[in-house]
C-alpha cells in the first residue's frame, strides 16, 4: 500500500492527502495548460473569439467521451465510435432528406443500433470488447462508404441552391444549432442529463459495480449479459447525439467524419482520471478531460507549432496526466 503511494509527493504527503491531490489532477492540468498558452500567446489565446471557438469545438468530443466513459467504467472499451459517428450522421441526414426535420432522430437510433450490435456480440458471443469494436470500426466505416457512395450530404440555409447532383437538405435551424451559443447550450443540457444518469441513477451505480467485480454480480444472480447490451446501447445513443451535433457544426455528413476520433475520446476519458480498467469515473472530470484536449490542440496551433508536433505533445500530456492521476495501489495488474 505505502509502496504504491510513495510516488512523486508521497514523501511528505499522507496516502489520504495523495488521494485528494489525485482527485484534483485534471483540474490542475487544465489550469496549467491555460496559463501556459496564455503566457505564450497572450491575447491571441485568451480572447473571447478564441474561447468561443473552443466552446464550439469541445461539445462533439465531450459527447463522444461520455459514450466512452459509460463503456470504460464497466471495464470494456468501444473503439467503434468514430465510425458510428459518421454512420449516424449519414442516417440522420438521409432521415432528413426522406422525412423532414424529425428524420434527424434516426441518427440517434442508428448510433443506438451500432451500440446494441456491439453489446450483443460482446455479451452473447463472448468476444472481448476491444476486438468486437475494432471489427465494428472497420465494418461500420465500410457501410458509410457504401451508403454514401463516397459523397457527402450538405446542410444548407436555403440561400444557395446546390447543383442537381449534390444531395443537400435545407435546414437553417440545424446550422444555427451548430454555432455558439446554441451548440454550447445543447452540450450543457446533455452534460447535466449525463451527470444525473452516471452519478445518481441505479444504472450508473451498476456501471461502476460491473467494472469493480463482474463475477460477483453474476454470482448473486444479476443478469450482467443483458446489462452489458444496455451499456453499449446507451453509449450508442450518446454517439448518435454527438453525430447530430457534429452534423450541425460541420454542416455536412461526410464519409470521413470522426476518423480517429475514438482515440481522442479515450484520451479525454483518461485525462479525466478514469482508469481504463473500470470501476471508477467522473462526468465532470471527463468534461475537463475533453476541454483540456481541445485547449491544448488549439493552443499549440495558435503558438505556431506544426500539427505533427502537436500530436507528439498531446501524447506526452496523456502519459503525464495518467502517470500522476492513476492510483497504483488500487491497480493489481498492469496489462
Amino acid at each position: 500500500m505505502t509502496d504504491g503511494s510513495k510516488t512523486m509527493a508521497g514523501g511528505f504527503l499522507s496516502p489520504r492527502q495523495m488521494e485528494k491531490l489525485r482527485d484534483f489532477v485534471p483540474f490542475i492540468a487544465i489550469a496549467l495548460v491555460i496559463l501556459l498558452f496564455w503566457s505564450i500567446s497572450g491575447d491571441r489565446f485568451m480572447s473571447i473569439r478564441n474561447w468561443t471557438f473552443i466552446a464550439q469545438q469541445t461539445p462533439v468530443l465531450m459527447l463522444l467521451a461520455f459514450a466512452q466513459l459509460i463503456v470504460v467504467t464497466t471495464g470494456s472499451i468501444d473503439i467503434s465510435i468514430g465510425s458510428s459517428l459518421a454512420f449516424s450522421a449519414f442516417v440522420g441526414a438521409i432521415g432528413m432528406l426522406w422525412f423532414g426535420d424529425a428524420g434527424l432522430l434516426l441518427g440517434v437510433v442508428a448510433g443506438a443500433f451500432v451500440g446494441m450490435v456491439n453489446g450483443l456480440v460482446i455479451s452473447l458471443l463472448k468476444i472481448p470488447s476491444f476486438v468486437t469494436t475494432l471489427a465494428m470500426l472497420i465494418i461500420v466505416r465500410a457501410l458509410v462508404i457504401i451508403i454514401s457512395d463516397g459523397t457527402s450530404i450538405y446542410m444548407t440555409d436555403g440561400s444557395v441552391s446546390g447543383g442537381t447532383n449534390i444531395s443537400s437538405v435545407t435546414a437553417p435551424w440545424l446550422l444555427s444549432m451548430g454555432k455558439f451559443p446554441a451548440i454550447f447550450i445543447v452540450a450543457a443540457v446533455v452534460a447535466v442529463f449525463m451527470w444525473i444518469f452516471y452519478e445518481k441513477t441505479l444504472f450508473g451505480q451498476q456501471l461502476k459495480a460491473v467494472g469493480g467485480n463482474e463475477k460477483v454480480l453474476r454470482l448473486v444472480g444479476i443478469n450482467v449479459t443483458a446489462f452489458k447490451i444496455k451499456v453499449f446501447a446507451a453509449a450508442g445513443v450518446m454517439v448518435g447525439i454527438a453525430a447530430c451535433v457534429n452534423l450541425a457544426r460541420a454542416g455536412a455528413a461526410t464519409p470521413q467524419a470522426g476518423l480517429m476520433i475514438e482515440l481522442d475520446a479515450i484520451a479525454a476519458v483518461a485525462l479525466g482520471g478514469t482508469p481504463l480498467t473500470g470501476g471508477y469515473g467522473s462526468v465532470v472530470k471527463t468534461i475537463i478531460g475533453a476541454l483540456t484536449l481541445t485547449v491544448v490542440r488549439n493552443g499549440l496551433t495558435i503558438a505556431g507549432v506544426p500539427p505533427s508536433w502537436s500530436q507528439v505533445a498531446l501524447g506526452a500530456l496523456l502519459i503525464a496526466a495518467i502517470a500522476i492521476s492513476l492510483n497504483r495501489s488500487k491497480v493489481d495488474v498492469v496489462k
Binding site: L202, G211, L219, G221, I222
Partner: protein
C-alpha cells in the same frame, strides 16, 4: 439426544406434517468428465446449524453451490419444506427469493462500491424508478450492522475496499442474514480471520439462530469450530456424504478419520 433420533423412526410420515426445511437427496455434479460430487444427501431442520466437513476437493463447495443454485445438479432432488424444486429453473436468484443466502469464501463483495450497495446487491430499492433509495439503504445497513453488534464501520459512503477484513466479513454476513430468512450457507467464514474476529463471527451465527430461527450450513476446516457451532456434522469424502454425527457424540480423532479415510 437418542430420544430425538428415535422419534424420527417412530413418527409416521403421513401424520407428521412438518417436513424438514431442506432435504438434499443424492445430488451429483460433474465438470467436464470429473465427478466433483457423486451422491450428496443431507437434511436441515429449522433453526439448526449443520456443518459440512471434508478434505480439500472432497466436494464441499460443489455441494453447497449446487444447493445455492450456482449450478443445477446433474441428478438428484432438492426439497424445501417438502416441496421438490424445479431443477430446470434452479438459479441463485430463485434460491435468494426463497430466503437462501450464501456467504462465499471470498465474500463476493464489489470492492469499489459502498457497504449499503453491497448489502443490497441485486435488490437495490428504487426511488422514482431509476434512482437507488440511498437513504433507506443506509438505514437498513446501519440496522443490520447494529444487529451484528458491529460499531466500527462509520462512513457508509466509502468503498468497502477501505474497510478491514473483519469489517468486510461482517458486511458479507450482514447481507446473508438480512435476506437469508430461512437458510444461510457459510463457506469457510473464518478462514481468513484472526481469533478475535472468528469469535465475533461465531457469536453472530449463534445470535441470529437464537433470535430469528435462521438455519445455517457451515463449511469449515476448523474442526474445533465445527464442534462448537454445529448441531450435526456431515462428513463428505470423495464426493459422497458418507457419515453424519450428532453434536458432542464424536471425538476430534474420529472426525479426522472420517474425513481422511472415509470410515
Amino acid at each position: 439426544m437418542s430420544q430425538g433420533k428415535q422419534s424420527f423412526v417412530v413418527t409416521d410420515p403421513d401424520t407428521h406434517s412438518n417436513p424438514p426445511l431442506l432435504e438434499v437427496e443424492n445430488v451429483s455434479k460433474s465438470f467436464g468428465g470429473v465427478q466433483a460430487l457423486r451422491t450428496g444427501s443431507f437434511r436441515l431442520e429449522k433453526g439448526e446449524v449443520i456443518a459440512v466437513v471434508g478434505a480439500n476437493g472432497a466436494g464441499k463447495s460443489t455441494l453447497i453451490k449446487t444447493v445455492a443454485g450456482v449450478y443445477p445438479p446433474d441428478s438428484g432432488e432438492i426439497r424445501i419444506k417438502g416441496e421438490p424444486i424445479d431443477l430446470n429453473d434452479h438459479s441463485v436468484s430463485r434460491m435468494r427469493e426463497r430466503g437462501i443466502e450464501v456467504v462465499y469464501q471470498d465474500l463476493a463483495l464489489v470492492p469499489n462500491m459502498s457497504a449499503p450497495y453491497n448489502l443490497f446487491l441485486g435488490r437495490t430499492p428504487r426511488k422514482w424508478g431509476i434512482f437507488a433509495d440511498n437513504r433507506s439503504m443506509r438505514a437498513k445497513t446501519r440496522e443490520v450492522l447494529d444487529q451484528l453488534n458491529v460499531k466500527t464501520v462509520q462512513d457508509l459512503s466509502r468503498p468497502i475496499s477501505d474497510l478491514s477484513g473483519g469489517q468486510q466479513q461482517s458486511i458479507a454476513i450482514g447481507r446473508a442474514i438480512a435476506w437469508g430468512k430461512e437458510i444461510v450457507i457459510l463457506d469457510e467464514p473464518t478462514a481468513a480471520l484472526g481469533p478475535n474476529e472468528t469469535a465475533e463471527v461465531e457469536r453472530m451465527v449463534e445470535e441470529v439462530r437464537d433470535n430469528h430461527g435462521t438455519s445455517f450450513i457451515l463449511i469449515s476446516h476448523n474442526l474445533e469450530q465445527v464442534q462448537r457451532l454445529a448441531d450435526r456434522i456431515i462428513v463428505i469424502h470423495h464426493g459422497v456424504t458418507s457419515q453424519e454425527f450428532e453434536r458432542g457424540r464424536v471425538t476430534a480423532d474420529r472426525l479426522v478419520k472420517a474425513i481422511t479415510v472415509g470410515v
